[in-house]
Amino acid sequence: MKKIFLYIFLSLAAIIFIYPFFWMVTASLASEKEIGSLIFLPSSFTFSSYLQLFDKIPILRAFFNSIVVSFAITLCVLVFGSMVGYALSKLEFKGRNLIFYIVIFTMTLPFQITLIPQYILIVKFKWVDTYAGLIAPYFMNALAIIMFRQYFKSIPQDLIDAARIDGCGELRIIFGILWPNSIPAIVTVGIITFMTSWNEVLWPLIVVRNENLMTLPQLITLFVVGGRAESQLGVKLAAATVLALPIIIAYLFFQKYFIQSMTSSGMKE
């Protein structure tokens, strides 16, 4: 009996978390007139909100930009993060501890302090309205270094020594030996980095003004805020759906890894 109440309660809670997304998708497929009264399924489906959306803003271009930027950032963070993590965990050199403390320290530094000067830097580099401006400040990440350092520590030194005897260089050791043995760390860092860069809005809003270089969340934000949606709810919801769907689909496939990644880093947006 108690169990039944438990299930009813949990199901109600689950509805509260899932229903808004369900509504978003169905309402984006409903006629503009019907959205205001829509609770469940619309009486007929139409793609007109999506057609208008594609007509009004270069959303495919923004989708492409987001893919380029998110993949580039993720790749950089994985490559450079594992290099630094390897040096800090497996190599002896002067200043190693100092660098590690700096890494930890920068993690506590609030982004609010670097926001304005980083923008000025990008202006001086002439990187406003370029992919470089979107990617450069994120090509490295303290959290990734710490996670790689931690993971590489658990890999036996013998493996590395054996590779050295075989004549492997340090880069071969990192990418040929450590990487295949560190899939969980790579997946974790990769998912977190990809997700945060896919969802990032503030920085793109600052460094990109040219519509053709805008990322997806940025373009949609400006579309919704800037009045070009003309208070048509259906078009706004279609935009939100386009932005959410890739991540939701990836999540449905790799749910376990998403949850593990996010919790092992203890991060939040």
């Binding site: 660098i99 969802n199 932005l243």
Partner: protein, 283 residues
């Protein structure tokens, strides 16, 4: 010789990143606080005028107060809801994975998506929440239009977005409680409540503090929700500090003043987080 250089080559991407995108910006930020600059015309020395302006800037202080209101509502709500749901999920039930995944869904999507959806839920005339209220015999509520309610509404939405993450963190915490403790307590005839307050709560204390620290940092970075939903209004009631810095810097191009706000605000965040961490370590 070559061997000695290799480690430095490997860490060089980080050193470049640190110098260019961290150390220099922080130093430059400090310098900027003593200047007026609109990016285009030459930098102009301004003495302490930015600091004087900050002290008298009612909107900025309002934005700090708003952040405080947000945290005061958001943090307890976050802890209670996520701990409660984690407790329920920690029992032997079927479909646990499904429930966990469902609660986690809002965590992974962009804040922009959540904001667009909730803007409709909170809508005054045809918003779902007000339609429900009318159905059960209440009158409409100005979720986003009433200056006293707008920030609490945003805090509720933020809780909905992040609860899933904290449920999982609490689940991990709850699993560290040794089952013998509960068995012993049951033998002594302890009630459900007693078990929760005397055993569970003390053991998961570190997780609670982690939630407090993470929610605080999240609350301090509040930007996209007010930017999309209310633009900081009504009557600046949802103006967050980051939104205000953004407006000063990128609407009015007051770079010096925006840097001053950023520096002051960052120091405030550091102070709050350090105090919270000290509190945890003492425990």
């Amino acid at each position: 010789m070559r061997k000695k250089i290799i480690p430095y080559l490997l860490v060089s991407p980080y050193l470049i990143y640190f110098l260019v995108f961290m150390a220099f910006p922080v130093g430059f930020s400090f310098f900027l606080t003593f200047t007026n600059w609109n990016i285009i015309s030459p930098i102009e020395y301004a003495g302490l005028s930015n600091y004087k302006r900050l002290v008298n800037d009612a909107v900025f202080w309002k934005s700090l107060l708003n952040t405080f209101i947000f945290l005061i509502i958001h943090i307890p709500l976050q802890i209670i809801v996520s701990l409660f749901l984690a407790e329920l999920l920690n029992q032997k039930i079927r479909l646990r994975g499904f429930f966990r995944a469902a609660f986690f869904l809002p965590v992974i999507v962009s804040g922009v998506v959540v904001t667009i959806i909730w803007q409709q839920l909170y809508g005054f005339d045809s918003g779902l929440l007000n339609r429900l209220l009318i159905k059960i015999g209440f009158s409409k509520v100005g979720w986003l239009t009433d200056p006293n309610l707008a920030m609490p509404s945003i805090a509720i939405m933020a809780t909905w977005k992040n609860v899933g993450l904290y449920i999982v963190l609490f689940l991990v915490g709850l699993q560290t409680v040794p089952p013998q403790f509960y068995e012993a307590a049951e033998l002594e005839g302890a009630t459900h409540m007693q078990k929760f307050f005397k055993i569970t709560l003390p053991i998961i204390n570190p997780t609670i503090f982690m939630v407090v620290v993470l929610s605080t940092i999240g609350g301090f970075s509040l930007f996209i929700e007010p930017y999309v939903m209310t633009g900081g209004g009504p009557m600046n009631s949802t103006m967050s500090a980051v939104l205000y810095i953004y407006k000063q810097g990128f609407f009015y191009y007051h770079m010096g003043y925006a840097a001053t706000l950023g520096l002051f605000f960052a120091l405030l965040i550091l102070a709050v987080v350090i105090i919270q961490k000290k509190f945890v370590e003492r425990d």
